[in-house]
Symmetry: C2
Subunit: 519 residues, 2 copies
Amino acid sequence: MKQLVLSEWLLTQLNQSDFPVRMPNHRRIYEVIRRAITTQILSAGERLPSTRSLADDLTVSRNTILAAFEQLLDEGYVASQTGSGTYVTYNQHDGFSKNIVNNNIAGDKSAVQSVESNAENIALKHEDSIGLSKRGLAACGAIKEYQSPVRVHNEVQPFTPGEDDYAGFPYALWRRLLNRQWRTPDPALLDSSHDGGYLPLRKAIADYLRVSRAVNLTYDQVLITSGTQQSIDLCARLLTDHGDCAWVENPGYWAARRVLEVNGLQLHPVNVDKEGMAPSTKDYRTTPRLIYTTPSHQYPKGMVMSYGRRRLLLDYAQNCKAWIIEDDYDSEFRFEGRPISSLQGMDQNGRVLYLGTFSKVMYPGIRLGYLVVPPNLVESFKSGLYELQRPGQVVIQAALADFIEEGHFASHIRRLRQIYGERRRLLQAALAPIATVGARLSTVDSGLHLVVEFDSICDDVSVAELASVQGLRVYPLSHYCMGESTEKGLIIGYAYSATEHITEFGSKLAEVIQLALRQ
Amino acid sequence: MKQLVLSEWLLTQLNQSDFPVRMPNHRRIYEVIRRAITTQILSAGERLPSTRSLADDLTVSRNTILAAFEQLLDEGYVASQTGSGTYVTYNQHDGFSKNIVNNNIAGDKSAVQSVESNAENIALKHEDSIGLSKRGLAACGAIKEYQSPVRVHNEVQPFTPGEDDYAGFPYALWRRLLNRQWRTPDPALLDSSHDGGYLPLRKAIADYLRVSRAVNLTYDQVLITSGTQQSIDLCARLLTDHGDCAWVENPGYWAARRVLEVNGLQLHPVNVDKEGMAPSTKDYRTTPRLIYTTPSHQYPKGMVMSYGRRRLLLDYAQNCKAWIIEDDYDSEFRFEGRPISSLQGMDQNGRVLYLGTFSKVMYPGIRLGYLVVPPNLVESFKSGLYELQRPGQVVIQAALADFIEEGHFASHIRRLRQIYGERRRLLQAALAPIATVGARLSTVDSGLHLVVEFDSICDDVSVAELASVQGLRVYPLSHYCMGESTEKGLIIGYAYSATEHITEFGSKLAEVIQLALRQ
């Protein structure tokens, strides 16, 4: 690309793009150039304009450009050669698209995917010479198979599932609440968290869950963890042994599967239907020690588990002494209709472990989640939590307790629900044309992503690839499946994209889908 | 105890005890009453004085007493009956002392202790009916076998190993550094940490380790974890498989052993001598995949690994393709002599993973540590870290980067070194008399605890028990051993106790030891 053209193009991107309002200029410039590199607009070896001329063209200070370049240098996207300027060194996009295509697991026919067999598949693709273990390969390989690689994570594009918008987070209020704790610091707040977490936070969560989710609990059953991964990890370690069978929903949450796999569990996929997780005769031949499910809003497809299915699952768990993990991952984002009660609230036998997270309502880096355990497991889980994870950040727990108790949490959720609800409606409208090519848009009215389902003949991986080349990162539904996937479609996140761009990006995505499905 | 007597006794305790200067009155009163309950000064069923009379006797406001009582009520130490007052409901100490005595592992003769066999031992003592897994039992049971139970953790007594004094932490400065981040919040700081941690912190740590610990690294090899447990966990998961053999030092760090055990490793204890970890012919019959060691300051005995032993270990690891975890857990607290270089710095083959923590220098609840990995493992570890632990708290990482870069870290360490060095000297002086009964005080001049060694005929568990009854929580050396322990002695932490009380408490402990060893 010619250098003047590049400057002009950068300028358009800076103004047009979907960045959070508060994003500083140097971050925007860095991001735009990086995207240009990862989407091959700039290719390896190409020279960037000088910082001075770029500063002139974009009418920003030279320091702003220098800051952006420095980060690009630091991260190895560009290299500078004394006297001759700055060059693009790296093109990630190539690597990424090849991985997506090569690692498509749709061809894997085995229904039960053990850590070992899965790791062996991945080992074939990895250089084994560096000496990772099988489960280590599974843990790392997971990233390439199930989601966009970590290395390009910063390059979040519109519609990336799992990304939220925290630009509107009430920073000033939160800073005040944190300062309140730091101003009169109780030494106990600086210690690690020994007894399941900060007591007022556990009480606040118990009150919240009792009222809004019909969870049946006392505060003593609430443990503060550092998030969903850690909650699932703790359950797997304390309640299962290596080689035990775990039922997971199919399609389902790959990140939960990873944690279970790394703990040596034999994952058995159970298909979902309109009523949620739907165990069949074949499934009952296995004896699960653990059942991982998302009854309020199946991940990723969104249906609510029916009453009958809930009863069946609870009775089955009681009969075979299995534990149920109920992941209520986005219960806050229900846009219409009355809230759905938790599975835990129906459980008479203490077989359900209920978990939730603050990452989506507060901000991802807060790393606080909660786990509600049956009364007779409380002491063991407190011990195990402390012994295996040594939780801390009690100051933040205390600020969060105040945030909830003083009503900020409730009003922040209301605000987010409004914002995300609007984005959802706009996206649904923009995607309406895809009905003409036989793609079905899910009608579930909650959560932070939409599901589009295709006829199974269609290769959803290539459709997602096409969209990605257009700067729209959506995930193929088949990537959420284990074994041979009959489910084809797209998972489209709308939480991250600015409201004013949803219609434009949505229409672009609709075009991509129409183009792909017509072929 | 008569109520007036109780008030008087409480008053003495409030003034005499070893609380941090900033501890509020209600916390002190709570703590003193709790200690009275856990040490059986107050027994179950006993009535506490009324809040009004106690407020009068202690000359504090009634609200202060109410706050203390409320916490005792919350935690179940006392219960109130309308009209008749507040009663002690619970006596933990009984349970605790019995556990320590019954669970003494000195009688266990097997050298290699697998998760299964260990868990089975524990299972015998546990009620299995609640349905924990074997590894879950191992994780929870660990607490009772290897350290004071979590439930009495708040009852930290003088000399509890592993407890630090963070009353002197520069709160105001730290709040200012955090506020700096929150005032101009970069959205990236609120995200989870995708790429091994906050870059400026990784750079600051790399600079620090290069200079002060002769670690051989670039900043890219530094990953920010949420502490030592998580660092070891990540290494175990990415580098070993279920059933692999891991060498651990004997005696050694039980918390590291727990994490390795829960990951299904076969732990093989390797004895230590004056030169550190000392593998024998018997040990070489096993083939470790992982070697966990503390070369700079063996935990808990304190010796430095000799040059010859370092060479031997590095060569052996290279020959059998084992990984070495070098836990440099308290390298900051070296009071005399020149710093000792890291094992990692001598490694030519990229077999060493080096780890450290900020819990001891900053405050335990900060939950930040670091892991330095060989260059060819960087990408896999970044992926695994993100995928398995989803790290975050980038704001705190940013504040910590400033804390280090602006020189506060170095001066804070200097200050702590001075404080802890003085406590060490006072304790050594106070314990000098124990030489007359054949107890040897270690002369290693670094770290945060002292080691006293007994003749092996002596039962160190009972000595620790005797001290604990006197309000001095020290740990028996045999609890740090696997298999039949020939090592008897005490581990005495001095970091937590206020300097002005060390001599008094130390003399009391010396008396306990003399009394016990004379019998």
